[in-house]
Amino acid sequence: MSKQNNMSILLKGLLRENPVFVLILGTCPTLATTTSVDGALGMGLATMAVLICSNIVISLLRKFIPDTVRIPCYIVVIAGFVTVVQMLIQAFIPDLYETLGVYLALITVNCIILGRAEMFAGKNSVGKSALDGIGMGIGFTIALLAMSTVREVVGAGSFAGNEIPFLVENGLTIGILIKAPGGLMVYGLLIAVVNKITKGKLIKKKEFSCEGCPSASSCHGGCSAEKEDK
């Protein structure tokens, strides 16, 4: 029973609760770092490392952190791990550090990490939180890889930096896909494809709303309340 449970915690991040395509969290890095497969893989793995570590530590501390100041506490833990990952990447993979630039520091404010801390790690045991971190991290990485594969192959005619001669020689690339507008468009189209395949069953969240927003508890549903009375 327990084993079954753990397995489902690990697997739900991959598809059923995929953070990018189903929960629609972490849109900023999804759009900004998917111009190349290399960058996307680096971003995915860096986020996964931070997610697993912060989930474990937050879950360990969940009984000591007072409820009222939990968001600032979570942010400090997350920012600490982001700094560690940032320094490691700068030291060992300087090329990736250059590619990701400011987005590496911005993992701190990635909604996926704060969201999982708030929704999962703050309420569950260490083992489960670690599994959740691994599952969500892999789901995020897969989603980034899917986005970046479409964008790099169609936009630049290459895959992970290796040129695909057929596409380049025949001029079959659509350059705008690796520019900013292409990111939004590919993201929209991929969500539509997921919608089509699952006949709209998978993606229940039709709009951006307070549900799933890590700041929701601190704004007391302020923005949605305002939406209703206007």
Binding site: I24, T27, C28, L31, A32, I71, P72, I75, V76, A79, G80, V82, T83, Q86, M87, V102, A105, L106, T108, V109, N110, C111, L114, I176, K179, A180, P181, G182, G183, L184, M185, Y187, G188, L189, I191, A192, V193, N195, K196, G200, I203, K205, K206, E207, F208, S209, C213, P214, S215, S218, C219, G222, C223, A225, E226, K227, K230
Partner: protein, 206 residues
């Protein structure tokens, strides 16, 4: 302040509003851009709050980097210190407005907690340090002006987009595109329109 200086400042503002728009070409602050852009008045409220927080955040974080972190050789603490300062600052602004300017709190208050985890604010403070440094005598001025430009660009994009969205609400969209996908595709079009501004700034005052 000479002519050359004014020219530089105008270029910084124009490029951060039009060419390097934070939302549409650097993808920072996408969540509020898509979440709070359904009505024009809401997007104005959010945009103004973001400008306000960006300016205050830069005014506080730049001196911290220049006079505390750098002299102590603790530059690597940037991320932790900045996000904490921004979080505390937003709380403080909220309390201050509630007490002293209730009218402003009523219109901006609901957006403030959302801004704490807005990557555009953390992004602008970090980018300012990387772009303008702390050594140059004008760096603080440039940083402040660039924050103002980024905030204005955010407001501009939000307002334009909320106009677009109210048109989409009334149109007939294919089933699998309903809701999010069509919003993203629309955002892509508006981003494409901003793409046309590339290169405008270099020739603006030439």
């Amino acid at each position: 302040m000479n002519m050359e200086m004014v020219k530089t400042l105008i270029i910084i503002i124009m490029s951060s509003v039009l060419v390097d728009n934070y939302v549409l070409s650097r993808f920072l602050g996408i969540c509020p851009f898509l979440g709070v852009s359904k009505k024009v008045n809401q997007s104005v409220g959010m945009g103004v709050s973001v400008i306000f927080v960006m300016l205050v955040a830069t005014a506080v974080t730049w001196p911290i980097q220049a006079y505390i972190l750098n002299p102590l050789k603790m530059g690597y603490m940037q991320t932790i210190v900045f996000i904490l300062v921004i979080a505390a600052l937003v709380q403080f602004i909220e309390i201050f407005l509630k007490k002293f300017i209730p009218a402003l709190h009523k219109s901006l208050g609901v957006y403030l907690p959302l801004i704490t985890t807005n990557c555009a604010v953390l992004g602008v403070t970090i980018n300012n340090i990387t772009d303008y440094g702390v050594e140059d005598s004008n760096a603080f001025l440039f940083s402040m002006v660039s924050s103002l430009g980024c905030g204005l660009g955010f407001l501009f994009a939000m307002v334009l987009f909320s106009g677009m969205r109210s048109r989409i609400e009334e149109s007939d969209v294919p089933e699998s595109f309903k809701g999010l996908p069509v919003t993203l595709v629309a955002a892509s079009f508006i981003s494409m329109a901003f793409f046309g501004f590339a290169g405008i700034v270099e020739n603006l005052l030439a």
